[in-house]
Amino acid sequence: MIKRILLLTHLCLFALTAAAQDYSALVSGKEKKGTDVSLSRPLQAGVLFGVGYSNQLDTYLSPMEYSGYQLSFLTSRERFTKWGDDNVSFQSLVQGAYSHTKNPARTATAWGGRLAYDAGWHYHWRLTDRLSLKAGGLLGADLGFLYNPRNSNNPAQGRFGIDISASAGGCYRFNIRKLPVRLNYQADLPLMGCMFSPQFGQSYYDISEGSRDHNVCFSHPGNALSFRHLLTLDLEFSRASLRFGYMGDVRQSHVNGIRMHDVGHSFMIGYVRYLKILKRNER
C-alpha cells in the first residue's frame, strides 16, 4: 500500500513539474513568432530564511508539549500561464524546517525536521490596479520526523503524507515614497489526503518486522486540521525584491489514538527575483 502511495506521489509531482516545463516551452514558442511574452510573464523565484518559535506535541512520544526554536526556509516559484486570459498562475513551494524543543520541565530535548513540497494553480482576480485576489489548489507531499532520544523503543516518530489543499490569498501594491512595495498573503488549507501513522501502541520495530495496522490513514480537516499562511512584504528594487515575511504553519492530526501538532511561527527574510525564461537558442 505504501509503495502505491509513493508511486502515486511521484507521478503527481512529476506531472506538475512537467506541466510547468511544458508551459515554459509554450512561452518560447510564442517568442519565435516575435511576441515576447516571457517578460510579461516573468518567473517569480523567491527564497526566504526564517527563525521562530516551535511548539510540538506527539503523544506517541510524550503527552507533554515541547517548545523551542525553529529554523526554516521556503522557496517559491510562481509564474502566470497563458491559460484563463493570463489569470492563472502555477506555483511551487518547497518548505523545510528544523526544530529544537524542550519539555515544560526542561529535562528533555526533541529534534524535529520537516520537508514539504506543494505545487498547484491559482486563478487571479485583479480587483483594482493595486489589489488582486487569488484562489486555487495545491497538491503536496510532506516528510518529517520528531526525535526524542530519551525514549526507549519509541524514540522517534516519522511523518509522511500527501494532500490536496485549498489555497487563497491576495496582493496589494502601494508605494513608500517612490519605492514600489507589494504586500502578499497566502493561506493553504489541506482538504484531504492520506498520511502514515503507527497504531496507538505499535512500535517501529513491529512495523519493520512486517506488522501492518491501519498505518495509512485518510486525512481531512476533521482529523487533521492543518494550515499554513504566509504574509510577506516585498520592497521592489530594479532587478529583485527584498522580502520580509511571517509564516505560520500548523500541522495537526488525531489518528490511531495519537495526537500530534507541530506549530511554527517564523519571521522570515529573503529575496525575490524575476527571471525571464529563455528558449534554448537564446542561451
Binding site: N103, A105, A108, L131, R150, N154, G201, S203, H229
Partner: protein, 339 residues
Amino acid sequence: MKDKLLLLLALVLGLCSCQRGESEYDETPQGNLDALWTIIDQRYCFLDYKEAELGISWNDIHAKYSARLNPKMTRAQLFEVLCQMLGELKDGHVNLSSSMDLGRNWSWKEDYPLNLDEELRDAYLQTDYNLASGLKYRILPDNIAYVVYESFQNGIGEGNLDDMFYSLRMCNGMILDIRGNGGGNLDNETKLASRFTNEKVLVGYRSHKTGTGRNDFSALEPEYITPSKGVRWQKPCVVLANRSCYSAANTFVRDMKEMPLVTIMGDQTGGGSGLPFSSELPIGWSVRFSASPSFDAKKQQIEFGIAPDIPCSLDAGKAAQGIDSMIEEAREFIGGQTS
C-alpha cells in the same frame, strides 16, 4: 480598503490562534500521580494479567497512593511514592527515571537464587578464549563447545557467527550460557536463534495496543525464526538460563525452546515479555513501561519467565571446589545425547 486590510489581519490572527493545547496535568504531586496512573492505565499492556496474577487493582492503587501525597512534599518524597506505586506491577521494564535515581522493581531476579558464579564461569573460559564481538567461546576438554553471551546489547554480526560456528564445527555439542543476560537488542537474539534451525519455526506471537482501553489489542501476529543462510548448528545444544535472563534473553529462550536440537537447562528465566515504550510526567521524569506483549508458541504469557526443560541449580559445595554444577550437568546431558 482599510476595512479589507483589517479583515485580512483579523484572518491572520485568527488562524494563528487555532492550535490545540494537550497537556491535561499540572505539576503538583497529585497532577504527576494522575499523569503516571493514566499512562499505565491506558498504555501498559499487562494490566489485566497483573491484576489477576498479583491480586492488585489498578483503580484501588490510585486511591492508595493519592492518600500518601501532600502538596508540600519534596521531589524525593514524590519520587519514592510514585516508584512504590509502579513497583506494584512487579515489572522490570517499568522504571521511573529522574536525575537523582532510577525507580525499579527487580524482584524478578533479586527474590531468587542467582545460580551464577562469574569467577567460576571465567575459570571455564580461562583467559585464552575466543572473543567474537559479544560472544566468548572455547572448546572444553570433552570436545564440547562452551559459548558465553552476557548481553544482547553486545552486537553480533553474521560474520562473527559464521566464524564461530565454523571453528566449533567438530565439537560434539554446545553449551550456550546466557545466565545473567539481562536482554538488549532483539535483532541479536533473532540472528543467533536463526543458526539453530533448518526450517522456518513458529516461536511465538506478539500484539500491540490499539487504543486506551484495557482490552484494545491487535490480533495476535505469529513470529517466526527463519533459518540463517550462514553456518547453522546441527548438533545438540544446551542453553543455560537463570532468573537474570530478562527481556530479549527471555525472548531468546522462548525461541530456542522451539528449536529441534536445543534443550533449556538451569532455572526459570526472569521474564519481561513486553516491549517497553517511554513517556513522561509533568515534572519531567521519564517513565518506561511494557507496551506490546509477546507470547510463546502456545499463546501463553511469558511475562513472568519460562521454565527450563531440565531444571538445575548451582551447587554451592561444588562451586567451592571450582566446579560449576550447571555446566557439568549440561556436559553430562550432551555426553548422553551423543554417546
